[in-house]
Symmetry: C2
Subunit: 357 residues, 2 copies
Amino acid sequence: MDADTPAPRRRARRRPAGPDRVSARDVARHAGVSIATVSRVLNDSGPVADRVRRLVAQAIDELGYTPNAAARALVRSRSETIGAVVPTLENATFAIAVEALQSRLRQAGYTLLLASSGYDRSNESTQVRALLARGVEGVMVVGGAHDPEIEQLCAARGVPLVQTWTLRPDVACVGFDNRAVGRQLADYLLDLGHRQIGVVAGVTRGNDRAAERVAGITEALAARGLDLPREQLIERPYRIAEGQIGLRALLASEPRPTAVICGNDLLAFGAMLEARKRGIRVPDELSIAGIDDLEFAADLDPPLTTIRVPAEEIGRRSAEYLIDRLDGQTVATVTEVATSLIVRGSTGPAPQRGDRE
Amino acid sequence: MDADTPAPRRRARRRPAGPDRVSARDVARHAGVSIATVSRVLNDSGPVADRVRRLVAQAIDELGYTPNAAARALVRSRSETIGAVVPTLENATFAIAVEALQSRLRQAGYTLLLASSGYDRSNESTQVRALLARGVEGVMVVGGAHDPEIEQLCAARGVPLVQTWTLRPDVACVGFDNRAVGRQLADYLLDLGHRQIGVVAGVTRGNDRAAERVAGITEALAARGLDLPREQLIERPYRIAEGQIGLRALLASEPRPTAVICGNDLLAFGAMLEARKRGIRVPDELSIAGIDDLEFAADLDPPLTTIRVPAEEIGRRSAEYLIDRLDGQTVATVTEVATSLIVRGSTGPAPQRGDRE
DNA sequence: TTGTAAGCGTTATCAA
DNA sequence: TTGATAACGCTTACAA
């Protein structure tokens, strides 16, 4: 995909078709006042006689006038626009966050410019640059590891940037500690007696959240003197079908894991499907856990043990951070949202030696 | 939610913080040329000596110049911006479409402004108005029934509007015949011998797609001399848990349906959960069908019979329609995308009298 | 091949 | 309480 090189337009019309756009000048003429007065009633800046105000309002109505946002943005140097770049909307967790982000932004009068990166760092950078060129006043991105250019560009223009799904002390962010999440999941399974733990992670290249989750798992294992051998760590894109592939690969390894941590719920769903297909009883023979707590997680059979990630809250709080910053308020730069381990039926004690078969 | 009344900003700064934005004038000065020349190399309009071109390019680089989109939009009266309003991104089918829409738009140099309506017609209208005020050059909405204001506003400005997930001969649209889809599903089940067909529809108020689907089902039944009694038609929001509620309601009615058509796959998933919970065998005792063919549909147990809706294609083609229109091309206004019945394991022949129990 | 200058539609300053 | 008018940063005739 060459999202980078916009194709040239074939024919450039000078003005949008339709009846020539009505401007403030038209309104002014129609109401028999000056254009300055029109502006004043429009923005409620400066005094206007009630009678005049009514006149202008009526003219605006009759002419169906809408102020030109570009002109306003130009003179005020404020676009009232916020940009967001997410990896993909196909992952429900990001879709939910974007939904909340947009909704909160609109309440404050901002419009959302949306782009997606496809989990590609250089593409992400391109998208941010495009948004900045469009004059966005704030930017939201997912994750804490990016092309350094992103932070630079935003900083250079004084455009606040909020990084989500991550926690970094040095930048504005709304998220959680992915490493801790990985650790928590691993510790939980270790406490259940599992010693052979496999991982179906997301693709870690260009995805610091996925990488951190793996790191957390590794840490927890190390703390108990265990390690995560290469064959026990499979990386797959975040899709159900990939979870199946991932589990298949893990099952081929020796010793066979008694528990599998998946990078998110989609992978976990796939893993559960594969286990069922192979007649492997979950959780008796194999425990499976995910991350996100998507809508369906509680409804799988057995219900999926997972880490709840408050996507809606992340989106909403990101919006609030940007809104407040643009409002000139000083706000906490680091916002941690609470995740929590939701224990359901897909995980259980490690099978005793001999339990199996 | 009062998304309609943006709260007033607390403090309005004059210019965005940071080092005063570098303008074309700065670049011109730096390169020792006129501002017109800068514009020429920037847009590749008009002749520029190679040497000068290099000079300017270098200056642009050194100064980190980015053209001001608002100024450009103002003078060209083109914002290179497209607006979309979907019911919600929480429904994967819309998320996928938006993803495709955005990606295709960017390729053509457009940026996507996104808003959501929450399935509320007046809110949808508000969002469209906001987008129009932002100067979008094209608009995408979901469905074919809206506040009439929407079509008027777009028409008045000559802004192309594409309506999706629907087929209307009189307007630009990319979609399919929801009524036909409902009919097809009902006919399929009728052909299997079902005579007691229940429906868990989406909420039809303000949702013409949901309403059309129900209408199609009703039609198919009528064609065989059957009707759809009130108690056999349940409307619930598009969520898994609501599907459970819906099926519960249907099961309480007499005679109990042998087949249930759900407004989308989420409702169908819920219905299947409820059936399982009650020990009702699917499809032996009860057939269940959905619409959308979401990622998980094939992986349910039993796999879900559904209608495949090409959401990605709808998004992409909507983008292409708008791009071509804005390019001055004459394009087909009505684009039908193919849906297809995917028969899987969740539906089967109607149980013979006495089969049950 | 280059530069000058007239807008584009607003907002905001300053007089009146 | 109102009206001229100068920006805002850019594109684009038109001149040179």
